[in-house]
């Protein structure tokens, strides 16, 4: 007897992705990148010049890699990146505004 999933429980993402090879190699590569970037962050803390800028760039790169590859935003329909990017921009602007509030 074959188990038939209930209507609405079949994951269309799975069906849509069924045609291409598994991404296990990509996931491992991204994991290596995340580890290397974390080590780079620890090294950068010993720098005195442009330390903060470099740390922010490295953290943003790590966060982007996770969102794009582990959360599959790179392969998602356009609506997901659009829905996620707009509030992230608002969040960054909010953080910058709060920082300005402190500095002045």
């Amino acid at each position: 007897m074959t188990h038939k999933p209930a209507i609405g429980n079949v994951n269309p993402t799975t069906e849509a992705h069924a045609g291409h090879p598994p991404r296990d190699g990509i996931y491992l590569f991204i994991f290596g990148c995340l580890g290397a970037l974390t080590v780079a962050e620890l090294v950068v803390t010993y720098f005195s010049v442009v330390k903060i800028v470099l740390l922010i760039v490295l953290a943003a790169t790590k966060a982007t890699l996770v969102v794009m590859f582990y959360m599959h935003l790179r392969w998602e329909r356009r609506i997901y990146p659009l829905a996620f990017t707009a509030p992230v921009i608002i969040a960054v602007l909010t953080a910058l505004a709060l920082q300005q509030l402190v500095l002045h």
Partner: protein, 211 residues
């Protein structure tokens, strides 16, 4: 009153109304076609979480800039190890999803167990760090920095605890055969939440411990 009895208002069943709205939305916004409601809902939830953590990070930055932190209070090496553990858990969670999508149930269960171990270890090490900080005299009520530090990392830790509970629940469901190559929504939604918690920690590690 008599008019209402003679001509009762026509009531559209909710299912018919919902289907009509769906059809109208898909016609006007084709990009929404086939966008699954559950996945879109969790993305919207994560977006609200972005704003939640932004405000907490903003409060932390205000406290930090006004009262420079003695960096020697925080254990950067231990937290770097904890960061690596959380990154590893993200990798095992995405491998769990990949395994179940390929119908590899053994690989899925193995990755789930590793994820639970990594997540629990992260929470344990954070509790260890909190204990040390309390002994050093940094508490939730000791100063503004303590209040914002514990609020920010504590809320993140609570998210990790919820994630670990979710992982355990899905592991049990998976063990009982609830997930398969075509039926794995629970794993995908849980994965989105878990990776998001990881993303937040990536930012917190840099802002709190390294800058």
């Amino acid at each position: 009153m008599a008019q209402e009895i003679l001509n009762p208002p026509v009531v559209t069943p909710p299912q018919v109304a919902a289907a009509a709205v769906s059809a109208a939305v898909e016609e006007q916004h084709p990009e929404l076609e086939q966008a699954d409601n559950r996945k879109f809902a969790i993305w919207l939830f994560l977006i609200s979480e972005v704003m939640f953590f932004t405000v907490l990070i903003g409060a932390y930055m205000m406290a930090r800039w006004k009262n420079p932190l003695p960096h020697d209070v925080l254990n950067v090496q231990l937290t770097a190890l904890n960061t690596f553990i959380l990154l590893s858990s993200s990798y095992t969670v995405v491998r769990a999803l990949s395994a179940i999508q390929q119908g590899n149930r053994t690989g899925f269960l193995r990755s789930m167990v590793l994820s639970i171990i990594f997540g629990s270890t992260f929470v344990g090490l954070q509790a260890f760090e909190y204990t040390n900080l309390y002994h050093e005299g940094l508490t939730l009520s000791s100063n503004l920095f303590g209040a914002t530090f514990f609020s920010l990392t504590g809320f993140h830790g609570a998210h990790v605890v919820i994630g670990v509970v979710w992982l355990i629940r899905n592991f049990v469901k998976g063990f009982n055969g609830s997930y398969s190559a075509s039926e794995n929504w629970g794993i995908e939604l849980m994965g989105l939440y878990w990776h998001f918690v990881d993303v937040i920690w990536i930012l917190l590690f840099t802002i709190i411990y390294l800058i």
